[in-house]
């Protein structure tokens, strides 16, 4: 995987980008950068400012908060958006548990990107709502 066209092909099947046309996918592929993390590398760091929005193309990572594993992420999952949207450092580490290939958008570019791509924003909100509902159900506070 490498070229812009290959990235566009890879993200076309991810739910986050499912509503985009081919030219828009190529635009995403040229705005984001590809990144590779070896197993055990920390991708996102709890408490550290300045992170980005990551979308996993291949591999697996754990979400670890205060030393406790909270979730496992895989292909198509995204992370880092919450700290960017809130303007606060991440509250968890994300650590590669297998070699991890992602596309990354730097924090300052996330807001203009989402505003320019409302369908991606909508898909992101859907995922966030599912995560919120699941978290509330786990906590015994189901929401509508």
């Amino acid at each position: 995987m490498s070229t812009r066209e290959e990235i566009a092909d890879a993200i076309a099947s991810l739910s986050l980008f499912a509503d985009l046309t081919r030219p828009q996918l190529l635009g995403v592929a040229s705005r984001f950068e590809e990144a590779f993390f070896p197993k055990d590398a920390r991708v996102l760091r709890q408490g550290l400012t300045g992170s980005g929005l990551y979308v996993i193309l291949d591999g697996e990572a754990d979400v670890v908060a205060d030393g406790l594993k909270r979730a496992t992420l895989g292909r198509g999952d995204f992370f880092g958006e919450a700290s960017i949207l809130l303007g606060e450092p991440p509250i968890a580490d994300v650590v590669a548990t297998r070699p991890l290939r992602c596309i990354v958008l730097g924090g300052p570019d996330v807001e203009p990107f989402l505003i320019a791509h409302p369908r991606v924003l909508f898909r992101m909100l859907q995922t966030q709502s599912r995560r919120l509902r699941a978290a509330n159900e786990r906590a015994g506070r189901p929401v509508a």
Partner: protein, 505 residues
Amino acid sequence: MIERPFPPGEYPIVVVGSGPGALQVTYFLTRLGIDHAVISSDPLPGGMFRRWPFFQRLLSWTKPYAGGDRHSRSFERWDWNSLLAREPELRGMAVEFMDGSSDFPSRPEMEAQLQAFAERAGLRIRQGCTWTGTRREATADGDRFILETTDGEYRCRFAIIAVGVAEPYAPATPGIELAVHYADTREAASYAGKRLFIIGKQNSGFELATGLLQWAARITLASPSPAKTSIAARSLMGVRARYVQPFEDSALGGGVDILAASLKGITRAPDGTLRVELNRSDTSMPLTVVADEVIAATGFTCPLVDLPALGVATFGQSKLPAQTDYWESATVPGIYFAGTITQGWAGLKKHGISSYSGAVQGFRYNARILVRHIAEQHFGIVLDRPTIPLGDLRDHLLAETTSAPELWHQKAYLASVVTLDPERGVVDEGILPLTSFLDGGGPDAIAVTVEADGTNIFPVVYVRHEGRQEEHPLEPDPLHDYEGPTYRRALGAILDRVAAGASAA
């Protein structure tokens, strides 16, 4: 007869390349007394600067009259083009070769200073020796890499690959064979009166557009995402200020069009002209541009020969090798990288801002750290780590954030680090990758960096205390001077919690 050192055989380390990255690595290996060979396919040192940039003027400046003594460490902040050296006479050499007409050296000036550095530093390189393949063999004494070359086989425990990002890349778009690559651009006057279409909106595309403004009848540049200038990005991640004239011409309708559009294909019409078929990124609507010439300013890839087949993972359009924070292959230990390839370790890329590892002013420091790391990890060399009186710690760290060239050129990537040793006191660990400080663990320690967030530049203090980490961004200063009382107070309060008495001086 030109000496051809390093005949095929076994060496502890083999360095491949003779551009600035390889020169910097072999300089430090030589000065630390580490036996190694250097081979390069080129006939002379200089790497890409023997040929590019096309319009013969660099993007990186050297300001001869800034910063005082050009042989000092602090001058390096104002000199993006010289290599590092211990000997004063080998420092700041770019100045000596510049004719005074610009703070951006010409390509021949850069080439001349690199060749002079190699000669004066006594660097030995086997030129005209092309690396053609790689094998790995297990021996009783550990693995060996075998580098196959046009001169024979080189066996080594460690290979340091510094071959640049130099292989022309063009996308597999239908009709791309009708375009020429940036690397094959002709003499400027030959484009007189032509309608020119440039694929790509990076610096190379805008370099051509700027250089051909006076020749071309019309210029169109296109790539899928909008072009951004370095001024707007407040980092080197955009098109450099040297090349903004096409932006103004585009804004004024002056014969340059800058499009956010993806390329569908190129065809030749019966009248001999080229038809470039595009889709606009914003509306996805088709668009056709008629051109006489198409140039693909679509970048370069790493000429890694067969390293991917050996297991070296690569990523991105440039096929950069995935690396650790000491620039070792993330998947094949023992293969290291130097020079512009070290941008394959992106670091934290805080606030979306890249390191300058793709340029001399960044990777020259990576090379020094890499050699020190290899010396300690693999050759049993113990490097000097001086102590700092506790009362001087605060001023030392603030002086580093104000003037350490490593921190200014490698923002949020390299850090100036001290550890708090119970026996020795405050120990100066020197300049290290920030991620190695954050992820490496160890005793209580403090690191300082210079960082940017797209709006401001500011120092950041990282504290490792009893296994926990803290990050303390300090306020920006309009003059970038962090040595005043405000910063002494702010840093003193942070230091006192981990090194009691540090603010007493």
